[in-house]
């Protein structure tokens, strides 16, 4: 694999908002995991092997409540199943990527890297090499910040400089990039309403995948109707 400075710097430039967003969450995770009895080495290992923020938080709370191996693994699977949908959407852009590199890429698909890479694939001169850099720099930021948290992140005051808002702002902007026409905006609104309604009724995060599937299907039907109208 050819790695040149251009690919690294472009990837890094795309990754910084993700890293900025990961740091407070990673540190918070490290603090909580350490309180639950994990040492910094175990925290780093978990972040490296799993690399999925919300499911790691859930796993820690399950661990401290004495849940079984099977229960924790199954919960992790369900919580992270939404990435199945994200990878499906990304696959279209990885047609000419060697299999070995896809194997490496899959490891780094998170909510954030997915949204970032997809936005770049659509609008810019972007390829899988740069996308891979985004994934792995984000991963590094996650692993490092969780370990730092494990060492004593409680020393850092909470809410410094509004950094807790970095990820929300980033996702908001990436959503704006996706609102390319009326139908996409309608899909987003439908999804938001279904997700919020479900989130109020059902615990857990299954609302993400259900809302997205329903809203995307609605979008498909709307588009079909529009074409029928024209012809």
């Amino acid at each position: 694999m050819k790695v040149n400075a251009n690919i690294l710097s472009e990837g890094a430039r795309a990754a910084w908002p993700i890293c900025l967003g990961y740091f407070p969450i990673g540190i918070a995770f490290g603090v909580i995991a350490q309180k639950a009895g994990l040492n910094p080495l175990e925290i780093g290992l978990m972040s490296l092997l799993v690399f999925a923020g919300s499911s790691q938080f859930i796993a820690i709370s399950l661990l401290s409540s004495g849940a079984s191996f099977l229960a924790i693994t199954l919960t992790t699977f369900i919580v992270n199943l939404r990435h199945f949908l994200m990878s499906s959407a990304l696959a279209v852009y990885l047609r000419h990527t060697p299999k070995k590199c896809i194997t490496l890429f899959g490891y780094g698909v998170t909510d954030e890297s997915f949204a970032m890479n997809l936005a770049f694939f659509r609008t810019k001169d972007w390829d899988w090499r740069k996308a891979l850099v985004v994934n792995h720099i984000s991963n590094l930021a996650w692993v490092v910040s969780t370990i730092l948290g494990g060492f004593g992140g409680s020393l850092i005051p909470r809410g410094s400089f509004g950094i807790d808002y970095a990820l929300i702002a980033m996702l908001l902007c990436l959503l704006v990039f996706q609102l390319r026409d009326k139908i996409h905006a309608i899909v987003a609104i439908i999804s938001g309403i279904i997700a919020t309604t479900m989130a109020l009724i059902i615990p857990g995060n299954s609302y993400i995948i259900v809302a997205a599937i329903i809203a995307a299907t609605a979008g498909l039907l709307l588009r079909r109707k529009k074409y029928e109208h024209q012809s």
Binding site: P17, E42, F51, F114, I168, G192, A216, G219
Partner: protein
């Protein structure tokens, strides 16, 4: 051992669609459907975190997260700058903490 198990069940749903769908010609309807997935997922990720709170969750329309989201969203539409939006969002959220907190 537990972490390895968690890692494996996280990895395969991420990997398999990439491996299979990237090597196939997809039917047009599927490609059109997948094209709506990002907007749908992002919206489903963001909205509940902006307007619900607590455990079990309840509706809370006036969270600082939601109030700050409005100018941040408008800024993103106006400038289409990712870095700028992140910094503006952070600054406004920090300010809101000073004002309301």
């Amino acid at each position: 051992m537990l972490f390895l198990g968690m890692g494996i069940v996280t990895y395969f749903p991420r990997l398999l669609p990439l491996l299979f769908l990237s090597r196939k010609e997809l039917p047009l309807w599927l490609e059109a459907w997948l094209d709506f997935i990002p907007a749908a997922i992002l919206s489903a990720l963001i909205f509940p975190s902006l307007i619900t709170a607590g455990n079990p969750r309840h509706l809370d329309l006036l969270k600082p997260e939601m109030i700050v989201a409005i100018p941040t969203f408008l800024f993103a539409i106006k400038t289409r700058s990712l870095g700028g939006t992140v910094l503006i969002g952070m600054a406004l959220f920090w300010l809101s903490g000073k004002v309301f907190g």
